[in-house]
Symmetry: D2
Subunit: 176 residues, 4 copies
Amino acid sequence: MTEVTNSDAGWLSREDMDAARDRLPILYIDAVPVRVDDHGTVTAIGLLLRLGEDGQVKRALVSGRVLYHERVRSALLRHLEKDLGPLALPRVPPAPQPFTIAEYFPTPGVTPFHDPRQHAVSLAYVVPVEGDCAPQQDALELTWFSPEEVREPSVLAELANGQSRLVLQALAHLGV
Amino acid sequence: MTEVTNSDAGWLSREDMDAARDRLPILYIDAVPVRVDDHGTVTAIGLLLRLGEDGQVKRALVSGRVLYHERVRSALLRHLEKDLGPLALPRVPPAPQPFTIAEYFPTPGVTPFHDPRQHAVSLAYVVPVEGDCAPQQDALELTWFSPEEVREPSVLAELANGQSRLVLQALAHLGV
Amino acid sequence: MTEVTNSDAGWLSREDMDAARDRLPILYIDAVPVRVDDHGTVTAIGLLLRLGEDGQVKRALVSGRVLYHERVRSALLRHLEKDLGPLALPRVPPAPQPFTIAEYFPTPGVTPFHDPRQHAVSLAYVVPVEGDCAPQQDALELTWFSPEEVREPSVLAELANGQSRLVLQALAHLGV
Amino acid sequence: MTEVTNSDAGWLSREDMDAARDRLPILYIDAVPVRVDDHGTVTAIGLLLRLGEDGQVKRALVSGRVLYHERVRSALLRHLEKDLGPLALPRVPPAPQPFTIAEYFPTPGVTPFHDPRQHAVSLAYVVPVEGDCAPQQDALELTWFSPEEVREPSVLAELANGQSRLVLQALAHLGV
């Protein structure tokens, strides 16, 4: 997941955020970007190549924190635009029901999802993306994989924090 | 619901379809056409004005039969194009999970849904529509209602076969 | 919603919780307790009668905060037991997907949901309850309503914070 | 899937059913029987060992046709009782929304699901089972597998008609 402190926005200092992270589950969104054909069938899944805080390069979904007084829908759009660029044309689903939730625990093994920094609970959505994607900020690249390719163990192994599980859950939900 | 016999396609004669209707549940789709804004929030729901077999004018959802050897997704697109015209640009959702199912019984009162001709089980989807809609065939008109307007008892009362219930279920699912 | 500070558990002082509430969305669960018959059809919806902090008596769903390092499923069970007593035998659904999410904003009118104390995002579940319910703590009473009764404007008007909307969404999801 | 002609009930002769199968999609249900613990977490998935019409032994889900004038909920219970016995105590979910649909085509390769006899569209549900299961009729045995065991390629390979895909979709939906 991305660095979540949004110091520009001034909502929370790094110290206060760190304090909150020790004491509260933090609300996140995860978006699985997909390409669809004319029939709405998913043809590709997009994964980011991201430079982690530890200097390692990892694949990742679009993911980030929901801010105070921000709608979940707005948080989805903000993180999609931040990671995919302003011309991506994401189609955020009209219904608020996520296809699943992912519980990232600081302790490994409690759930398939793990985040050493915090306890985060993420609302997961599949988001068709119709425009041109240009990775931004700490996202180095966006790669589109066919459903078959993304299921390859070598691709899944590049996903951090248990997000390979979330990708497989999205594929199952999509029936591809 | 629309007349479902598709004699042009030659799959089933009117007599055979009538016989099947006396003995089997018939698989349908219901589509709730919606307009969404930039954030994916639903701003309007589209209802058809349709001339029924009894000569009465009624409001209706996009609805119709799934044919032999036809994907559900293709049936959705076929009925949307048939009723809204070829330039409607419907965005059929990427996941096959319907938001609910509607069980239309020939006997009134078994469920909120009723179809005097048959026992039909319908898979219900919300479908964002981005293009221009031009009602076709027996659809006289398509009217866009805001979520508040469509909840008006006078509008709901114009929907036949219990589809007012399905519209309310769609609004609830959409959170508007 | 219930008072959420859990000072017994020592996770967060009242002051720290108040500070967090000014800066972060707080993760909640909402549970709609239902009675089902042999076929799994919902026959009744349970609403609590609760004494609010302002001394007013209001109807409410089972609702409360997810704690640090607590699974969503465990939070659901904890709040159900706290409000309905230890013999309620709730059947928490096996899948983590909520039927919707409710975004409670401190500012009225942003969404249908409102919480003057905080920005809370709640994962909403329908939970069949099979045992005997005995309201606990600040819950004065649990009343079972048929789907028709709970839709009465007089009943819906007794629900605070926009939870009448959530009850209607649950009924729509349940198809009753 | 099971032999679906229900000659006892007299709804449809074998010949008429065969004729309908050549011309209409047939409505089915698929049920994934699960055991859950006190928290509602799935601990085991039940698969039937079934003697197919071709004399081969295969694993299968609980699966069967929805009859004319039968509720989907009743069809689920009927097939669960037929395959698991009268003491299985299945908890059919209160909401009619299936977790997915499976489109079984007579032509292999159109979808992951295949049924040489017919085009069947199946509504798929996860059903917690609390009682004692005693396989009936052509079901030879019911075996409970942990989520890890059922993912084993050797177990998945024993499922016919593409139902291994449906089992994986259920596991993904359940988050286990």
